[in-house]
Amino acid sequence: MALRDRSPGIRPRETLGGRLDHAARAGFPATCTILLMLATQAPFGIAGQAVMLPAIALACVWFWSLFRPAAMPPVAVFGIGVLLDLLGYMPLGVSVLVLLVAHGIARRWRRFLGQQGFAMTWLAFAPVAAGASLVSWVLVVALTLRLMPAGIAIFQAVLTAAFYPVLAIPLAWAHRAVPEAEAI
């Protein structure tokens, strides 16, 4: 539990440095998600690189919504979704909706999944990834009135689910290395 709650009493006003530190800790998950998303756009020249952007955004939102929901509020998810729509050339609103729904699911299952191991969170993420790419595909088809090839949606679902461990391991490390603002 938070240290502050364990020692009640009057404390001196927080210093500027302390407040900056808290803000940095609270803003860390959203910032690292956005930086990772921008990094996927760099010209690496890898085939299928475009799919990395939604994969990373969804995995980050899922991870932080599960393990640090206070620092990944719905408003931050909304912002990340807008950025994803803009960077990924999707019709506006599609990724916003998908990420918000994934965030809602993560919040709902948080109590259960928080106690399970890594394998379980991954297993729960796989259907979420599949659902996310299916919903995106349906919305893109509906909004552009054009039948998009379904292969890319399947590829996106598989890549997103398969890529999760690669991302979750460093994120889990960062989660431990940068403790929550409330925990200090």
Partner: protein, 285 residues
């Protein structure tokens, strides 16, 4: 700050998610109602990110080349032999081409042929993929004082790449010929029959609507047609390659998945431009 009671705050925090979900649907409607808004915001974002990616492009390109070079080292000998053979072959072709060129110039001179206007072009570096999952496009860094306009034509050193669809203050987006929304009037070089080249988001666009009695031949060269005034005639696009089901597709000459530098030509074509490009914009300077 407004102080709220704890139950009120809890109720509000429960409401945030549904409200934002509704806002997401609102955003979809907004994007549908005002397509130019999303385009403007996107180009503004690209303009600010473009310089970063263009700085990154060089070291990343060098790294990719180094990796490719290691692979090339293995079959250096075989490659060398192949190149020597190809060189011989091309030398023969060069003499034929030179002779034909001279003959062509002579014939044109005696026919008083009106020469094709030479097009202005600028060369730009491809800094990022600009297609996302459901489109095929490239982002070009064109510098702050550019004269690139919508509808101009992008070529790499081998063939047609696509058309400029969005222009920002220092970046431009080129829709590739493989994009699902790409439609290009073409001519099959041997039969001189017209057709439409339709993008599928796959690596090879498809040929459609060729006239009856003509069949696209395997390996036939496909060039642009001047019809509809969108492209100048005879820009090389690719060669016909049939799928296993016998559907004629075109293997592009341009290396569309490894674009590094493209040239943007201004042929002064205004045949097909987006509606907003034609609309006068009073009051905007």
């Amino acid at each position: 700050m407004i102080r709220l009671s704890i139950p009120a705050r809890q109720a509000l925090s429960k409401l945030t998610l549904p409200v934002l979900v509704i806002a997401a649907f609102g955003l979809m409607l907004l994007g549908k109602a005002d397509t130019i808004l999303a385009e403007r915001v996107r180009m503004a974002l690209n303009d600010s990110l473009g310089p970063i990616y263009s700085v990154l492009a060089e070291p990343l390109g060098a790294m990719r080349k180094a990796v490719d070079d290691v692979g090339d080292m293995w079959d250096l000998r075989a490659e060398n032999a192949k190149l020597r053979e190809q060189n011989e072959y091309l030398r023969r072709w060069q003499s034929i081409a030179l002779a034909l060129d001279a003959e062509n110039t002579r014939l044109k001179a005696s026919l008083h042929w009106i020469p094709d206007p030479t097009a202005n072009y600028v060369t730009a570096r491809v800094v990022a993929d600009a297609g996302g999952v459901y489109a095929r496009a490239a982002l070009l860094e064109i510098g702050p004082n550019h004269s690139v306009k919508k509808g101009e034509i992008a070529l790499d050193e081998r063939g047609l790449v696509g058309r400029v669809t969005e222009v920002g203050s220092r970046t431009a987006r080129v829709l590739l010929i493989t994009d699902l929304n790409s439609r290009i009037p073409v001519i099959m070089e041997t039969s001189r029959a017209r057709a439409i080249l339709v993008g599928t988001n796959g690596p090879r666009p498809r040929l459609l609507y060729w006239p009856e009695g003509v069949q696209p031949q395997e390996g036939e060269r496909i060039v642009t047609s001047a019809e509809a005034n969108a492209f100048p005639a005879n820009l090389p696009i690719g060669t016909v390659a049939h799928t296993v089901n016998g559907v004629p597709e075109v293997q592009p000459f341009a290396l569309l998945n490894r674009l590094e530098v493209v040239r943007i030509f201004d042929y002064g074509m205004g045949g097909v431009t987006a509606p907003e490009a034609e609309r006068p914009t009073p009051g905007r300077h």
